[in-house]
Amino acid sequence: MYILKKNIKPYEILYYAISLTYDLVDRIVIEDELQVLKSYMKNMLPVLEDSLQKAAEGLPIIGYNFGIPPEIFFCFDCIPFCFEATPYIISALLPSGVEYFYDKANAWGHPYHTCSSQKGIMGMILDGKIELDAIITPTSPCDNAIASYQFFSNYIEVPTIYADIPALYNNERAFEYYAEELKRMVNSVSKIIGQEPNFDNMIKAIEFNSKAHQYLLEIHELKKAVPCPFESIINPIIAAATTLMPGTYEKVAFFKEVSEIGKKRLKRHAGRPGIEKFRSIWPYMSVFYDFSLYEWMDREMGISQLWDIFNYYFYDPIQIKNKKDIDDIFLQIASQGKNLPMNRQSLLSVDVLIDDMIWLAKEYNCDFTVIMEHLGCKQMASISQLLREELMNELGMPTLIIELDVGDKRVTPIESIRYQMNEFINTLL
């Protein structure tokens, strides 16, 4: 039990949830099954332990939006606390883990249709479960972030720094503007927590991330194999890993292990458990509140989920040409940050998303697309029909759109999601 000087109860919840589940998974799941989940848990634990240890020492806690380039935390000796990923991973691990907090926020007057990821954090804050020293966010990827971070800033009165990220453009002008914003953000955090930025540590984190990215690219290549060597559950797990353990040795270790799992299976000419009948890409999010969906898809439906939004990366890793050239490094961070999952799809015109999906569908030999239309995401809801039409026109590929809240089972129950997928398969394919 950690005696925390500062409160980050959700990380404690996560830590205990993962340690208990890991122990169970490790003991009962048979060899070669759910290896990815096991590897994630094993590697996630030390990252959480480190955060809790630091919180016990009283180091500053910085709440952040998952859309911020995570490398910049490593300029400081601090605990980065990811707002959006935390409630969703808790909702995946604990059956009713976040509902209490969602209801807490609702009772305070929260509009039910705003993103549950931030709603969960609002509830936790209203319930006194999180104390922070600073909050940082880009002005993206969606209205939810723009609205919710104003709540955080004005309700808890913690210094909140916004890095403005331009909409529409994906060019030098936008990268330069955003890079300057990020530099100003680092300076502001530095003043708030009274630490000089340590760019050497940031570069180390970038190097870890770049290494992890290399393994991720290997995983991408492995996914091209038919049948896919990975279970569908890999996608929400990779989403959790990228958002909750950025810039760490453990992230590298995790991606390396995942890549090896794939390679081993491929060597044996074995796919994932279950027979692959259909290959699907998910341009948007995965369902978080019930991971059993993926096992059901794999084993009973024969549907492989090859991609979700948190798994396709359309950027190159940052190249450190000169460790002293901080401006160049920030420019690369900014260019990457503009193309981080969800920033890319939400800030740029829909053409980019359409092109990305067509490329993925062809490259990965896909049969259909599933769009999980998340209640919070109006930027996606507005164009999901459009995307469906374009994919049909370009590739003759059908799309299933399911309306839900990916972090709250009470909006669309998992039975209904299974039912809709089943009907789709029966009718269209």
């Binding site: 009470r410 669309t412 209904s416």
Partner: protein, 265 residues
Amino acid sequence: MANYLGIDIGSLTGKAVIIDDNNNIKAQKVIYVKKTPLKTVNVLLDSILPEIGIDDLSKITYCVGTGYGRRKIPLANETISEITCHGTGAHHVMPSLRTVIDIGGQDCKVIRLDENGNLKNFIMNEKCAAGTGRYLELMSETLNIPLEKLGPISLKTKSPVSLQSKCSLYAQFEVISLLGEGIKKPDIAAGINKAMAERVINLAEKVGIEEDITVSGGVAKNIGVVINMEKLLGIKFKKLPVDPQIIGALGAALISRKSFLKKNS
């Protein structure tokens, strides 16, 4: 002898109450609504007036209308919202009340009162059926048991199911699949009542809950919902000493007297 009349035309029932100069109830009536609000009013009057021995509208001193049909009551001297009328009526029969939760067929209101029975704050559900009597109607249809049995039958279980859906349509879907799985009706009914209670408490929390509390409206008759709400709040509700259904009309009658006296002072 004065006769102050309050008429409350709701979506399901019409209610009338007549009080005297001392705020004592002289007569009360509850009927199901007829085809039009006007018809409901006429039937109400036809049945309540003989009870106090009058057959002439001119013997009615003053009349206040409330409820959805309040603007369709020809003899009403003024109209007041059902929110205020409920508060006034409830405070009159129990001055210690600070919160009234009224769950009707189409909507749910939470009314906060000050120590004088004045309206302090209120909230009403948005359009959605979840958290209103309509939700229970839909569920009882799906379960195929009469609405009034939904409460008593739910007490027979020790293992209530947990219904997850917030949306009434999905909840129906869930109930159907639970029935398909062979889950017993009392278990499901208990789950329905619990879900209903959760929705109402969620709404109530938005305006804050202060004791003493009472529940009125048709759904107050469902013991299963009431018990669940009490459990969630850890509070015992006060039972009104009169039929909860007439509270709105009683409030209207009380306001009727007050208005008349004010106008003639």
